[in-house]
C-alpha cells in the first residue's frame, strides 16, 4: 500500500507541473466543448487532435488526450439531453430519458446529475484503476473469443427490453443492425460482402453517419411534421442541481453503474457504449417502476452517464497494462503511444513510470476540473433551449452534415446519413427502437469475429461455448432473458382468471 501511495505521490508531482496541469485543463475544456457538438465523439476528437500533440512530451500529450477523452465523454451527454442527439454512441441511452426530462422542463437536473455521475464515476474508476489494475487484468485475460461472443450476445438480446414497447421490434432492429455490420470486407478472409462495387463500402458502414441519421436527422424530420408552435423546449428550466428525490432515486444507481462501467470498460473491445447500455438495463431491472424508463426518469440519465465515464477509466487498464485497447478511443491513443516510440504493456509501468503515474494522477485532477467547470457552464448549454425550433433544427442539420463529413471527408457518408435519417424517421414513427441498430452495427463485426475464432479454435465444435464456464454462464443468462418472459406470459395466459398469482 505504501508503495502504491509512493507511486501516486510521484504521479501528482508530475501531473501538477504547470505545463501538465495546463494540458489537463485544456484537454477537459476542449474535449467537453467538442463533445457537445453532435457527431463529434471521443474517438473523432482524440483522433483529430493527435497530430497536435507530436511536439509535446509523451506524458503531456497523453495527459491532454486523456483529458479530451473524458471531457468529450461528458460533453456528449449535453446534446443527448438537450436535442436528443447522442454526441457519441455511449450517450445513446442518455437520449431515452434525458431528452424526455428536457421536454418536461427538467433539463437542469438531468444535466446536473450527468455531471455529478460523471465525476463520481470518473474519480472512482481512477481509484479502481490504480488499486485493481493487475487483478482485473488477470480476469480479463481469461476471456477468449467464446466469452466475448457470449457477452455481446447477452448485450444484444437484452436490447429487446430497451424501449419497453415491443421485444419483437427491438430484436428485429438489433438483427438488422447486425446485418448492416456484415457490410464490407469479411473480418477474417477479406471477402467483400454487400459492397456492390462501391469502394466506400469496403470498410463497412461507418457508425457515425448511421447514428447521426437515425437519431439527429430523423428527429429533425419528426419535428418538421409536428406543429412548431408546440415547441419542445417551451418548458422553463429551473435548478441545475438534482432534487432530494432525485438523489434518493439515484443513491444506488451511481455505485452500481460505476461498477458495471468499470468492469465492462476493462474488457478489451467492450467499451463505454456497452457499459452504458448494460448499466441502463441493470437500472431498469432493479427499478420498482421499470415501465417508467424511457419517459424521463433521472436514473435513466444517471446510469448511462455514470457507466460510460467509469468505462473510460476502465478502458485505460488494458491499454496501459496489456497494450490492448478497451475502446475505440483508447485504440487511437494506443496508436499515438506507438508513434511516440512507446510500447504499452507491463513494461510501461517500469520503464515510463512518470507517464503512467502522471496520467493516473492527472485523471484525478481532470475529474475535479470537469465538475468545477461544467456545473457552472451547464447554463451555457441550457441556453440552447431558448433558441426557437425553426432556428435550432436547421442548425442541427448543419452540424450533422459538417460533423459527419469532418470524420471521413467522404460525401458518400452524407448520403448514408440522409438515407438512415429517412429510415429512422419511419421506424420511430411506428414504434421501432433505433438504438439496437446502432449497437448491432458496432458490435456486429466483433461478435462475428469472436464467434468464428472460437469455432476455428474448437475445429467447428459448437459445444465449445458450453465447455467454457464463463461463456456458458453468459449464454445461459442470455437464454434466460429470452425464455423467462415467454414462460411468465404463458403462465399468465394459462392461469384461470380469479386465481391468486
Amino acid at each position: 500500500m505504501s508503495d502504491l501511495l509512493q507511486h501516486l505521490g510521484f504521479g501528482f508531482a508530475v501531473a501538477l507541473a504547470p505545463v501538465n496541469l495546463l494540458y489537463c485543463f485544456l484537454g477537459v475544456v476542449v474535449g467537453t466543448a467538442i463533445g457537445v457538438l453532435p457527431g463529434i465523439g471521443p474517438v473523432t476528437t482524440v483522433a483529430m487532435l493527435v497530430p497536435l500533440t507530436f511536439g509535446m512530451s509523451p506524458t503531456a500529450a497523453l495527459i491532454l488526450l486523456a483529458g479530451i477523452y473524458y471531457g468529450s465523454q461528458y460533453g456528449g451527454s449535453t446534446t443527448a439531453i438537450l436535442i436528443n442527439t447522442p454526441g457519441e454512441t455511449s450517450s445513446v441511452m442518455t437520449c431515452l430519458d434525458g431528452y424526455q426530462m428536457a421536454r418536461q422542463g427538467r433539463a437542469g437536473p438531468a444535466l446536473g446529475m450527468a455531471a455529478i455521475g460523471s465525476f463520481v464515476a470518473g474519480t472512482a474508476s481512477v481509484v479502481l484503476l490504480m488499486l485493481l489494475a493487475r487483478p482485473l487484468v488477470r480476469v480479463a485475460l481469461e476471456f477468449g473469443p467464446a466469452e466475448y461472443f457470449a457477452i455481446m450476445v447477452l448485450a444484444l438480446l437484452t436490447l429487446g427490453g430497451l424501449t419497453g414497447e415491443s421485444v419483437l421490434k427491438g430484436l428485429l432492429t438489433a438483427a438488422f443492425g447486425l446485418l448492416l455490420g456484415t457490410i464490407g470486407s469479411d473480418p477474417l478472409t477479406g471477402t467483400p460482402r454487400f459492397t456492390f462495387g462501391v469502394p466506400s463500402l469496403l470498410d463497412g458502414l461507418e457508425f457515425l453517419p448511421v447514428t447521426m441519421g437515425l437519431f439527429a436527422v430523423a428527429e429533425v424530420l419528426a419535428t418538421a411534421t409536428r406543429p412548431l408552435t408546440q415547441d419542445v423546449y417551451a418548458a422553463p428550466i429551473r435548478g441545475l442541481l438534482p432534487s432530494r428525490e432525485d438523489w434518493r432515486a439515484c443513491r444506488w444507481t451511481l455505485p452500481r453503474a460505476t461498477l458495471i462501467g468499470f468492469v465492462v470498460g476493462v474488457l478489451p473491445g467492450a467499451g463505454a457504449t456497452l457499459a452504458s447500455i448494460l448499466a441502463y438495463l441493470a437500472e431498469k431491472r432493479a427499478s420498482r417502476h421499470p415501465e417508467r424508463f424511457g419517459t424521463g426518469v433521472i436514473e435513466g440519465v444517471a446510469a448511462p452517464e455514470t457507466a460510460n465515464n467509469a468505462a473510460s477509466g476502465g478502458a485505460m487498464v488494458p491499454l496501459l497494462t496489456l497494450g490492448v485497447p478497451g475502446s475505440g478511443t483508447t485504440a487511437v491513443m494506443l496508436g499515438a503511444l506507438m508513434l511516440w516510440g512507446l510500447r504499452p504493456g507491463p513494461l510501461l509501468f517500469e520503464k515510463n513510470p512518470e507517464l503512467v503515474w502522471g496520467l493516473i494522477a492527472s485523471m484525478y485532477i481532470g475529474n475535479v476540473l470537469l465538475l468545477v467547470l461544467n456545473l457552472p457552464l451547464i447554463g451555457l448549454w441550457v441556453r440552447l433551449l431558448t433558441v426557437p425550433a425553426r432556428i435550432l433544427f436547421p442548425l442541427v442539420l448543419l452540424f450533422c452534415v459538417t460533423g459527419t463529413y469532418a470524420v471521413s471527408a467522404n460525401v458518400f457518408d452524407l448520403w448514408v446519413m440522409l438515407a438512415f435519417g429517412v429510415l429512422g424517421f419511419f421506424l420511430q414513427r411506428h414504434g421501432f427502437p433505433v438504438a439496437p441498430i446502432v449497437l448491432g452495427l458496432i458490435l456486429g463485426p466483433m461478435l462475428e469475429t469472436h464467434f468464428r475464432r472460437a469455432l476455428i479454435v474448437s475445429r467447428g465444435d459448437y459445444a465449445f461455448f458450453l465447455h467454457r464456464p464463463i461463456a456458458a454462464g453468459l449464454l445461459a443468462l442470455a437464454a434466460a432473458y429470452l425464455v423467462l418472459p415467454v414462460i411468465a406470459w404463458a403462465w399468465r395466459v394459462r392461469r384461470p382468471a380469479g386465481l391468486p398469482a
Partner: protein
Amino acid sequence: MSRRGERALGAGFVLVGIAAAALATGFGQGTETGGPTARFFPVLLGLLTTGLGAAIALRAPSGAAAVTPPEGLLRALGTLVVLFAYLAVFERLGFLLATAPSLALLLVVFGERRWPVVASVAVVATAAAYAVFAVWLGVPLPAGLAGR
C-alpha cells in the same frame, strides 16, 4: 403509429432479409479450419431479419394511427428536398457556397420568415461551422468553386 405502417415496415424487413440471405449465399467458400465461412453470419442474420419482419407484419395491431397535419408533411418533404440538393452540390460548389444558401432555405422551410434573420443566421452559422471545423480543427472541407 399505424397498423398499415408497421405492416409495411415489417414487409420491408422481410424483403431486405430475403435479399441479404440470397446474396450472401455467394460469399466465401468452405474452410479447412472448421470455422464458418464468410457467408454464415449474413445468411443467418438475413433469415433472422426475415422471420422477425414477418412476425411484425402478421401480428395484431399495437396502436392507433398518428395524425400528421398536411403542413407538417410539407415541411418534412421540403427539408428532405433541400438536404438532397445540398448534398448533391456539396463538393461541387464547396462548403461555403453550398451551405449558406441551403441553411437559408432550411430556415424558410421551418417557418422563419424574417429575411434579415434568415440571412444573418445562414451566414454567421456557416462561417462559425467553417471556423470550428476547417480553421480550428483543420478538417479539409470541400473548397469547390471558391477554391478554383
